[in-house]
Amino acid sequence: MSPRIGVITFPGSLDDRDALRAVKLAGGEPVSLWHADADLRGVDAVILPGGFSYGDYLRCGAIARFAPAMNTLVDAAKGGLPVLGICNGFQVLCESHLLPGALRRNHHLHFRNRDQKLRIESTSTRWTQDYQEGEEILIPLKSGEGAYIADEKTLDALEAEGRVIARYVGNPNGSLRDIAGISNEAGNVVGLMPHPEHAIEALTGPSTDGLGFFTSVIRALVPA
């Protein structure tokens, strides 16, 4: 049986269908989850999709983190459930304190959509094990508040513990230390600013480099 991977839709989520499509293409069973429903329907992993939850007028992810589904998810994540937050999902994970730091307005103050080169820095998380360390991938970035910030101590700790999972090659937004994605200590929770779910088909993406995030977790869930 292929692993069941849930995608939580918040009011204002936009890339939820895309995340579901990516799960399917990677060989998993996509499961739609609703923010107001505390029941995660027994899924084996969860993706928090991109978008503008609640319009993101206050701070990205600030309101979404209070959703009933998030309450359940925070506990489940602490218990080891694999969770990937993409873009807005990354912001929600930071606001929920499942990941340290915060995402700030891009330093140039514009929304920026471009095909972005990343270097995979850690392959020891549930979501990156199908990549090679140092591998460069090309996936879309599209965000206005994508600059990762944290205090020096936190940044040093992230680096020391190998929790920076991907860095920008050519910093597009002022992220500190070129950070594009990080993980929690256990490696089950990952936040990533660019969008791997938009690089899964040659027809619609700049590459198919994004598939690895989804195949990684599926492999982690179905031991060979």
């Binding site: 009011p11 204002g12 499509r21 929304f111 920026r112 959509n113 599209k142």
Partner: protein
């Protein structure tokens, strides 16, 4: 106090500020004739809006008929002009609707919000047809790049287009950025939206079925953009005029996103009989048009409309241009389900009226009847003008300066210099600064977007069925020859679609012109419409919808006539698309045509 129908009957000679509201003497006389009495203040406001150029197309109607008269035969047309947007069959059980509209003047006043609400408005037009909006495009025109007004409006307009579209989750698959001094005091912000639906989800606006409930969905109503109608306030109320001034419309894309999702779920569950978006003329337009289309009457309890500002008067509520609202006609047995569904998405839904026997639109405010009109008199039987037309006196002079007489580069150095000049010119320069601010990936079906000449979207993941869209327009050509200029724009958009590999199917247009009261402008308009209608006839692609924007001028100087043409094409399989770039070494270059 609120002017009621019975007061209107008792005080037939009360003076009314119809001139200030933009109505002419004979138009006012006709209103009195239709009603058999003077209009109430609220009715007057409604007529002034619905009979405005913007809503009634009174100057353009006689010319736009050509699109219908010359329409080529096609089996693809499922819904023609007249509804909010035309709908075409693209095969595989799918239907596509698309339309381009202008939001020029609001964008000059407040660039960010003007552009944002322009996108929001056209998206609701598409949603109204039953379609899921799937992409947007934004043909833009600015003044000279180094002019201070351009520096003021361009960043705001681009951020507004992006801010609204990105937050809605609509990929931006193309557009235009053109600079020309003629747009200095009057930039053009045109916005196109395209949507897709299964055939059986097509919605119409008619309010049918006596006893059916009229439900207002979406944002609360505030004093947004009640421009001309504020005259009524200042004419009737001396004090407090300050708080009654109209305000700039602010867009709330999050509210619109929720409106989209809740409406689509209602369509899928077949919960609505008719639906109409609230655009420029707000509730006035939505109630009169739905009732007129349904050939029925309607009763509205206006005090039920949720207000942002409790002190609003009936005419203000009816004229408000608050964004992110829709009007649905619902069978009583399905009302609860509609309300529950709206609540699930956090959308305010309120039953404000019902469909009635007969052909009167009756609106009460608490216990007073403030409106009692035949809806068709507002929506369909407004004034129609055959305005004077005159070829501009300087037309031959302008055309005397021919391309052949311009100096040509002769030497290699001159050629090099010309090339560098061209490459550096703002109209040809790289548009990345603009396009990077737009999400082109969201929804995961974008096959081609910038820097391609046409956008391509996949509709069906199984079959690969999809569409291509391009918009083009050239005000300088159109100024030199409006007939040929419109055709050139059509031909360019048509070629841009065809070169991707798609078969062109239908046409939309946004006609940006100066004042229709200027016979020279009216001549340009008539020429452009004729050119476009003739061109569409020859190419076999019908015009399925569009928009006319008049009064684009600074003082008495009009912009160049700027017809912007959008062409839609179809693919059986988007995997066949051809991008503009070279794909491999050693490919041959072949020039087609002469």
């Amino acid at each position: 106090m609120t002017d009621t129908v019975s007061q209107a009957q008792q005080s037939p000679d009360a003076e009314q500020p119809y001139l200030e509201l933009g109505l002419k003497d004979d138009e006012y006389a006709r209103i009195r004739e239709v009603l058999g009495r003077r209009p109430t203040q609220t009715e007057l406001a409604m007529y002034s809006i619905m009979w405005s150029e913007h809503c009634s197309y009174k100057s353009s109607k006689v010319h736009l008929r050509q699109f219908g008269e010359k329409a080529p035969k096609t089996d693809a047309l499922l819904v023609g002009m007249g509804e909010n947007a035309g709908v075409v069959d693209v095969g595989g059980g799918l239907a596509v609707t698309f339309k381009v509209e202008s939001h020029n003047h609001p964008s000059f006043v407040e660039p960010y919000q003007g552009a944002a609400t322009g996108v929001g408005g056209i998206v609701r037009d598409i949603l109204t047809m039953g379609a899921r909006p799937i992409a947007v495009m934004d043909p833009l025109r600015f003044g000279a790049p180094d002019h201070p007004d351009t520096a003021r409006v361009l960043p705001g307009i681009v951020a507004g287009v992006g801010g609204y579209g990105n937050c809605l989750g609509l990929p931006n698959i193309g557009g235009e950025v053109v600079f020309d001094p003629c747009y200095q005091g009057n930039p053009l912000v045109n916005a196109l939206c395209v949507g897709v639906m299964p055939h059986d989800r097509i919605q119409l606006s008619a309010a049918r079925g006596v006893g059916n409930v009229v439900v207002l969905l979406g944002a609360k109503t505030g004093r947004d953009g009640i421009g001309g109608v504020s005259v009524l306030a200042s004419a009737t109320f001396e004090e407090g005029a300050e708080t009654r001034r109209p305000s700039v419309q602010v867009g709330d894309p999050f509210a619109e996103k929720l409106l989209i999702e809740s409406c689509l779920e209602m369509f899928d569950r077949k919960l609505v009989v008719g639906i109409q978006d609230l655009g420029g003329a707000g509730l006035t337009c939505a109630t009169t048009e739905t009732a007129a289309a349904g050939k029925s009457g309607m009763r509205v309890w206006l005090e039920r409309v949720p207000l942002r500002e409790p002190s609003m008067e009936p005419h203000e509520i009816l004229a408000s241009e608050s964004q992110e609202r829709m009007l649905a006609i619902v069978e009583p047995s399905k009302l609860d389900e509609v309300l529950a569904l709206a609540a699930k998405w956090g959308v305010i839904a309120t039953a404000i009226g019902e469909v009635t026997e007969g052909d009167r639109l009756v609106i009460t405010w608490h216990d007073d009847v403030v409106v009692d009109v035949p809806p068709r008199s507002l929506s369909d039987e407004g004034p129609v003008y055959n305005r004077p037309i005159e070829r501009p006196g300087d037309f031959d002079l302008v055309r005397a300066d021919r391309a052949e007489t311009l100096p040509r580069p002769k030497t290699g150095d001159e050629l090099r210099e010309t090339l560098l000049k061209l490459v550096a010119s703002p109209n040809l320069a790289d548009k990345t600064w603009v396009t990077e601010q737009y999400d082109r990936y969201v929804q995961g079906n974008t096959v081609l977007a910038q820097p391609e000449d046409a956008g391509v979207i996949r509709l069906d993941e199984e079959t690969g069925r999809g569409i291509a869209l391009a918009t083009d327009g050239n005000g300088r050509y159109a100024k030199l020859d409006p007939y040929a200029g419109a055709q050139l724009a059509l031909a360019e958009a048509y070629r841009n679609v065809a070169t991707t590999g798609a078969a062109p199917l239908a046409v939309t247009n946004c006609l940006n012109f100066g004042s229709p009261e200027d016979p020279h402008v009216m001549w340009q308009f008539q020429q452009a419409v004729t050119g476009l209608a003739d061109g569409c006839q020859q190419l076999g692609t019908p015009v399925t919808g569009g928009n006319v924007s008049f009064y684009n001028q600074t003082g008495s100087t009009a912009i160049h006539p700027t017809p912007v043409i959008g062409v839609l094409g179809v693919f059986d399989d988007v995997a066949r698309r051809t991008p503009i770039g070279f794909q491999d070494d050693g490919e041959s270059l072949i020039l087609l045509g002469s």
